[in-house]
């Protein structure tokens, strides 16, 4: 939103007043607008068709009781689907589980990724190999990763339990994904394995953008390693960390494929996410109206978070970008 108002600065009153009588400039401006419109149109049409229209359609369908057959729904029920959501144990559970995963991701996965990124920034033998190895899981498709881990965590023949038994830790063996009380943590282990490499790479990139003069200067001033990290590296990594948190939270809200293949949301809904519940209602129960309501709530949660986060947390980072654009115009 900010970008839009700033980009069409010409319509702002103070500038408009100054240029009111300036005819050639106005014609030029008009022609420029025509060019912009012509260039934007194809993308805009596709965007409307593929992004805006489905959102509006989902919004519309969420107000109906609809089994998905026929072209458009007819049985209008107002906001009943939404009131039903807040009595739905599974949906409310989804919110809690989503929150748990977000807290774990931001509290455990990202610090882990940051730690490894800083370690891999140190000069050491085989650094490139380590970087590659840690990043590799992110390249693997979600489905392959999930199938792999259903085997690793298989209660009887799984690698995890066998290794624990072999090193004398029988007490730690578990039924992992098959137990309602451990399934979320097991899921989180898989998520961490799958995604921490991505955050590691962006943190590493952020760390390498920090000039070594800064840390050297701090060292000369007598700062110890912790102080350098706490007062120099960490603040300078701020923008990278903030975008990392943002991607992590949005990704967790929309988590589907990993869970779907790993557990299907089970046992007894204890690992369901919003997206899995939506799929279950839409494609297994044929309650497309209700499923649309879930998707609308997902959309609203993501949107509110994204806008709020950009407004309050990433404000400085984004302002920098826009100021830069203004200068280039």
């Amino acid at each position: 939103m900010d970008t839009m108002t700033r980009l069409d600065g010409a319509t702002e009153p103070r500038e408009a007043g100054r240029r009111a009588g300036d005819r050639p400039a106005r014609r030029f401006r008009l022609r420029a607008w025509a060019t912009i419109a012509a260039f934007l149109l194809p993308a805009l049409v596709l965007f409307c068709l593929l992004v805006v229209a489905p959102i509006l359609l989902a919004l519309y369908a969420s107000l109906f009781k609809w089994n998905g057959f026929g072209v458009l729904p007819t049985d209008f029920i107002g906001l009943d689907n939404f009131t039903r959501l807040f009595e739905d144990e599974i949906f409310l559970g989804d919110l809690w589980r989503g929150l748990l995963l977000i807290v774990l991701s931001v509290g455990v996965q990202l610090p882990l990724a940051l730690g490894i990124a800083l370690l891999l920034n140190q000069p050491m033998r085989g650094r490139a190999v380590y970087r590659l190895l840690f990043f590799a899981p992110y390249v693997v498709s979600e489905v392959i990763a999930a199938v792999l881990f259903t085997m690793v965590f298989s209660p009887e023949q799984g690698l995890a339990n066998r290794i624990l038994t072999a090193i004398g830790l029988e007490g730690l063996t578990s039924t992992w994904l098959a137990d309602p009380s451990t399934v979320m943590y097991t899921l989180f282990i898989v998520m961490t394995w799958k995604y921490f490499g991505f955050y590691m790479i962006i943190f590493l990139a952020g760390r390498q953008a920090i000039p070594s003069e800064v840390t050297e200067a701090a060292a000369i001033d007598g700062a110890n390693t912790w102080q350098i990290f706490r007062h120099v590296t960490l603040p300078l990594l701020g923008p990278t960390i903030r975008i990392g948190v943002f991607l992590s939270v949005i990704g967790t809200i929309q988590l589907f494929d990993l869970v779907w293949v790993l557990t299907g949301g089970g046992p007894i809904h204890t690992s369901e996410t919003l997206a899995v519940t939506m799929f279950q209602y839409g494609f297994a129960r044929y309650q497309v109206g209700y499923a649309s309501a879930i998707s609308v709530v997902m959309f609203i949660i993501s949107l509110v978070f994204a806008l709020g986060y950009q407004r309050w947390v990433m404000r400085r980072d984004i302002e920098g970008a826009i100021t830069g654009m203004k200068d280039h115009r």
Binding site: A34, F39, L41, G68, P155, T175, A178, D179, R285, Q287
Partner: protein
């Protein structure tokens, strides 16, 4: 003016893109009656779920033979995996279209498709066919006295058990009553054998237990009535849930069964195939899947029908199961029904049955069954005094899924028998 030319070109590109999208959109469903020059060619879009051996090549061959005999007919086959098919069909039917010939299991989903005007009424066509279909097999596809689908396979659910493990636990013959069954489970446990394999995560295998117990305790009529009145608040269904709870309390299932799938290498079928568990409650396909997921138990694998419950209204000869069938899209070309007739003929039924994948749905194809275990199922089915379609197919999809979900919760110990009937009723009422 250069700008004008540029934007004109852009508009042209945009228009092309748009028309491209539009053209792609309606290519999926219709396919009927393309008029090419003088000769009329009819294309039949056929979606089936036999995406693997042995039936994939057999159906392919039948389609090619039909094309040869009818040069003006072209059959486009799309084989899709079971679960993917359901999702794909849902997406297509949302546009108000359906393939010309497509997989159906009858019951509640077919009913919804009928109400949406997506499928053709086949009553008159089927009545005129030379090979009579078994009434039991057609039943799931009849809605309001009309036939909307034609079966190609029929089967029933029962206990598949490992005779060697039963002997090891000192059990001489399969149980005839639920009380005997529970005793056998205890005997197996005492002998250090996992009595039952269950795919807890798949949910549908668990619903077989509740459904059969509901049939045995409350009778077929009670299940039918529940669907009509949309109320499952029947003391008999609660009793059925409690009987199931008794079984669950014996902890008869394999380690980690709540997370187990059905056909994976560490799933339900493999546990029985590997001889790790003594039995499973499963449909006629169980031996095939055991062989694929683990190994074939051979003559050690036996079959017994679900035991009777003492004092219940149902009998042990009432069968629970289902099959596969085909529905014809409302706008399908007439050749579709003729082709369906062709693949359902006695000769072609025999070819399908000989692969061991299906049990016959037309009279006169029974002797094509080669496998001894398939014969046992067919005999039980032939002697059945009543038939109940899988509950997750018979009822509207939401109710069917609720049955699966609630029974899974009962088995996991998080819901009581009373809560199960209350939850199913609540979903049924909201449909």
């Amino acid at each position: 003016m250069s700008l004008g030319r540029r934007s004109a070109a852009l508009f042209a590109v945009a228009a092309l893109l748009l028309s491209g999208c539009g053209g792609g959109g309606d290519g999926g469903g219709d396919g009927g009656g393309n008029q090419a020059g003088g000769a009329e060619t009819t294309t039949i879009e056929w979606w089936h779920i036999q995406n693997i051996e042995p039936m994939l090549p057999v159906w392919d061959a039948m389609a090619r033979e039909y094309e040869k005999a009818h040069p003006n007919v072209k059959i486009n086959i799309t084989p899709i995996e079971n679960e993917a098919f359901k999702a794909k069909l849902t997406t297509v039917t949302q546009s108000g279209e359906a393939p010309d010939l497509f997989q159906t299991w009858g019951g509640g989903v077919l009913d919804q498709q009928v109400q949406a005007g997506l499928v053709k009424d086949l009553t008159a066509d089927v009545a005129a066919w030379p090979s009579p279909l078994l009434p039991l097999a057609v039943q799931p596809y009849q809605i309001g006295g009309k036939t909307y689908g034609v079966p190609y396979d029929i089967g029933m659910v029962g206990f598949w058990y490992n005779k060697a493990l039963f002997a090891k636990a000192g059990i001489d013959e399969p149980p005839a009553t639920w009380a005997e069954f529970l005793d056998d489970v205890k005997a197996l446990k005492d002998a250090g054998i996992t009595p039952i394999a269950l795919a807890g995560n798949a949910k549908w295998p668990g619903h077989y237990y509740w459904a059969y117990l509901a049939m045995r305790v409350g009778g077929l009529e009670a299940l039918k009535q529940a669907a009509e009145t949309k109320s499952f608040e029947n003391p008999d269904f609660v009793a059925a849930g409690q009987q199931l709870k008794q079984l669950v309390d014996l902890q008869p299932f394999q380690t980690g069964f709540l997370g187990a799938a059905y056909e994976t290498p560490d799933g339900q079928a493999a546990a029985v195939g590997n001889g790790k568990a003594a039995m499973e409650l499963m449909g006629q396909w169980a031996p095939t899947v055991q062989r694929d997921a683990a190994k074939d138990l051979g003559d050690d694998l036996g079959f017994f029908p679900f035991p009777a419950v003492e004092g219940g209204k149902g009998t042990a000869t009432e069968a629970f199961g289902g099959g596969g069938g085909f529905a014809v899209g409302a706008d399908a070309p007439p050749a579709t029904v003729d082709f369906l007739k062709y693949i359902t003929s006695v000769e072609n039924q025999r070819r399908s049955v000989e692969t061991g994948a299906f049990l016959p749905v037309v009279q006169g194809a029974e002797d094509a069954i080669k496998d001894a275990r398939a014969k046992v199922v067919a005999e039980n089915l032939a002697g059945a005094t009543g038939f109940q379609l899988y509950l997750d197919q018979a009822y509207p999809p939401a109710v069917g899924q609720q049955v699966n979900d609630s029974v899974a919760e009962l088995i996991a110990g998080s819901k009581t028998a009373e809560q199960v009937t209350a939850d199913i009723t609540q979903t049924a009422k909201s449909e």
